[in-house]
């Protein structure tokens, strides 16, 4: 792995660990996975229009996040049903539109040559996610305990929710290169789920989740390169092994 690629994968992993910590605590683990699927039709359209796939993916992911947000403002039950239907349908539509190698690359990620624009965008966007979580963490903590209490503490709950979901969507877009549409949800959820089992306070949760994500990304990429296989599945296997190990852990 080149130093630039290593740098990018580390900042993306940290962003995934941080944004994932709050996803896991907010019980939206199940929404994360289908939301990442919505990127596929975006990638298909972008390829057809000869645009960078990332452009289409981001547009669709932001739209998907907006949909989740709007539905959450309504009732809970409908959200899960609509996510199940709309986002898996998006995966199907995207698969019809994309073909051959492009489809495999979009589904599982592919580590092709890393251009400067993509590197700069990736580092800036991942840093934005990291800054968002670190500066908003107090608001996010209060909101996840109770949105009513958050309102009396002067937090604009609707706006913070929307911002959080958009940052979540951006994080998925960042990981498409390494993990693809099918597996990016896993890099956000699994390290955070591991951290949740081990951590005893919020500081620990954020640090452990980021570290697990970095270790999984770097060692998974290295393993995949040695074995000449796709990167994404290896990253997820390493992350999931960490989670299995954490099951043996008992909190002090």
């Amino acid at each position: 792995m080149t130093p630039e690629a290593l740098l990018l994968s580390v900042v993306v992993a940290v962003a995934a660990g941080l944004i994932g910590s709050f996803a896991v605590m907010r019980r939206m683990s199940l929404a994360a996975d289908p939301l990442s699927h919505v990127a596929l039709p975006g990638i298909g359209v972008a390829l057809a229009l000869h645009l960078h796939p990332l452009v289409g993916a981001i547009a669709m992911l932001f739209f998907g996040a907006l949909l989740v947000w709007a539905l959450e403002e309504q009732s809970r039950l409908a959200t899960e049903t609509v996510i199940g239907v709309v986002f898996t349908a998006a995966l199907a539509v995207g698969s019809v539109m994309t073909s051959g190698e492009d489809l495999i690359a979009a589904l599982f990620g592919s580590v092709g040559a890393l251009g400067w624009p993509e590197l700069v965008f990736g580092v800036v966007a991942a840093s934005a996610v990291i800054v968002f979580v670190l500066t908003q963490r107090n608001r996010l903590i209060v909101m996840l305990v109770s949105s009513d209490i958050a309102r009396t503490a002067g937090i604009n709950v609707r706006r913070l929710n929307l911002l959080y979901l958009q940052m979540f969507a951006l994080t998925i877009a960042l990981g498409l290169r390494y993990l693809g549409v099918l597996l990016m949800g896993a890099l956000i959820i699994i390290p955070a789920a591991t951290a949740r089992r081990v951590a005893v306070n919020i500081q620990g949760m954020l640090v452990i989740a980021s570290m697990c994500a970095v270790v999984a990304t770097v060692s998974g990429s290295w393993l995949a390169a040695r074995l000449h296989r796709e990167t994404g599945p290896f990253i997820v296997v390493v992350a999931a092994s960490g989670f299995l190990l954490s099951l043996a852990w008992r909190r002090p």
Binding site: M25, N138, V142, S146, G154, R196, A199, V200, N201, I202
Partner: protein, 238 residues
């Protein structure tokens, strides 16, 4: 939340005019009007389903309503909800939760150890994940959180539900001190008429057909309570 104090009588901190609330297409509150004087302690009572919780949520701006709710300008609300449902393994400690509030500031938030003292939570308990606290400990933590925002008004939805007897006494006494010595206005929902008798300066009784308000001596009588509750009540000693 806080609006202009125009037309508001000087001693009032809250004015509610012709408040009606629909909840799941049912009319929970109809045409409710009342005023709350600054520094008073208002008990909100009524049978289950009378709309006590809904009223609290409307007062803090978490629920849509018809009519008008006006807080005096400069009002800061501390809110303690009815029991919350949290997962046990949430890695957020009492300190994490309270520090989050203090760092959000608002009005130079209070000191964490002072609010823990006020509600009687030890440092050991505050270091534990909030999902592992007992119902009473968590309820007291929520109270500490409300106080950490340096409120001028407390809105408490059954603050002592799930708290053991000594804990209840401690919380009620802490509230009385804040109300009497620091001039905090307190609005609290309660089922315990003895507590209402002892700690409130006025009582708002919500009923399915009509509501009434007045000092505890006049409201907490057999005849007046009979109507909203619909059944005769046995009086409890004050």
């Amino acid at each position: 939340m806080s609006s202009s104090s125009r037309d508001m009588s000087a001693g009032d901190v809250l004015e509610v005019d012709h408040l009606s609330i629909l909840f799941d297409k049912n009319r929970v509150l109809t045409d409710l009007s009342f005023h709350v004087a600054r520094g008073s302690s208002l008990a909100i009572i009524g049978p289950n389903g009378a709309g006590k919780t809904v009223l609290c949520k409307a007062l803090i701006g978490s629920m849509q309503f018809e009519g008008r709710i006006r807080w005096a300008s400069g009002t800061r609300i501390g809110y303690v909800p009815q029991q919350l449902d949290l997962e046990r393994d949430l890695p957020i400690t009492g300190y994490d939760f309270l520090r989050a509030r203090v760092k959000l500031g608002g009005s130079g938030g209070a000191d964490v150890s002072r609010v823990l003292d006020l509600v009687g939570i030890s440092a050991d308990v505050a270091r534990r994940p909030i999902g592992t606290l007992s119902g009473g400990q968590f309820q007291r933590l929520l109270m500490a959180f409300a106080l950490a925002g340096n409120p001028t008004v407390l809105v408490l939805d059954e603050p002592t539900a799930g708290v053991d007897k000594p804990g209840q006494e401690q919380l009620n006494e802490a509230l009385r001190r804040l109300n009497e010595t620091e001039g905090l206005t307190v609005l609290f929902v309660s089922h315990e008429l003895s507590v209402v008798h002892r700690y409130s300066t006025s009582v708002l009784c919500l009923g399915s057909n009509q509501s009434c308000m007045g000092p505890p001596r006049t409201i907490l009588t057999r005849d007046l309570l009979h109507d909203p509750y619909g059944t005769p009540l046995s009086e409890r000693p004050a």
